[in-house]
Amino acid sequence: MNGSDGLGGHSSDYTQLVWIVATLFGSIILALLAVAYRRARSQRELEDAERVIAEAFPDDPA
């Protein structure tokens, strides 16, 4: 393996490092998406509960 085995004339070590950084970034995004999903699910459960209450008590001014 010589010094320019990687992409674009860079060394393979450099290319490997770029891949690791990109993978870390992707993993962080995945974790953030998982958190966003949980929050959206809670929000939807709340909306469902509000809808059920509104249907059960249609005359309630609150």
């Binding site: 992409l7 674009g8 290319t15 770029v18 891949w19 990109a22 993978t23 970034f25 992707g26 995004i29 995945l30 998406l33 998982a34 966003a36 999903y37 959206a40 699910r41 929000q43 939807r44 909306e47």
Partner: protein, 207 residues
């Protein structure tokens, strides 16, 4: 049960481009994230099939291929959102992201469907294995592009200036493909043979 209903909604959204009733913001976000996560699982299946020539490569592909798909999408997305704003399109950003995620889901669904064929040819044919693996990627890309265009077209149907909404679609598809080419090169080897894509842009356009 929530999961089958959500999968059913996801399939409806992917096949028809929109749901019968407009989903709430929370539901739309859930469906978008579900589409992306499901797409990553499906891409992983294809990765295992494409790398099945060795156990190490198959295991590495199980995370490499989904990561390549995710990173390509993340690379393309900001430009698509900026193009959406600059084109003054009537389509909302959440609708664009949702359509993008479901089209990626559709594309990876095609990849996963072709994964057994890729695996069997990979082990039984020296001529057709690699071309079939590469061909399945192009078929998936074409399918995803078609689904994306159709979903956006349906969302803006009846609104003034529908062509403005197609500009971010074109930009997203082009940038996704461009990023995919480089991330595939970064993550290589994904297929156990040298392909024109192992060196990214430089080897694809070397002539």
């Amino acid at each position: 049960m929530t999961a089958p209903s959500q999968l059913s909604q996801l399939m409806t959204l992917t096949c028809r481009g929109e749901l019968a009733e407009r989903p709430t913001r929370a539901t739309q976000l859930m469906l978008t994230i579900s589409a992306l996560f499901a797409a990553l699982v499906l891409a992983s299946l294809w990765g295992v099939a494409a790398g099945s020539s060795s156990a190490t490569m198959a295991m590495a592909n199980a995370y490499k291929v989904p990561m390549v798909v995710l990173l390509s999408a993340l690379t393309a997305l900001p430009a698509g959102l900026v193009a959406l704003k600059l084109a003054n399109a009537k389509l909302s950003a959440s609708d664009l992201v949702s359509a993008f995620a479901t089209s990626i889901f559709g594309g990876t669904l095609v990849l996963a469907t072709l994964a057994p064929l890729v695996a069997i040819y990979y082990h039984t044919s020296s001529k057709a294995g690699v071309p079939l693996a590469l061909g399945s990627v192009f078929v998936a890309l074409a399918t995803a592009t078609m689904l994306f265009g159709r979903a956006v077209k349906r969302k803006v149907a009846g609104q003034p200036g529908p062509m403005a909404s197609l500009i971010p679609v074109v930009i997203l598809v082009v940038l996704f493909s461009a990023a995919l080419m480089q991330f595939v090169a970064l993550a290589s080897p994904i297929i156990g043979a040298v392909t024109p894509f192992h060196g990214g842009f430089d080897t694809v356009f070397s002539r």
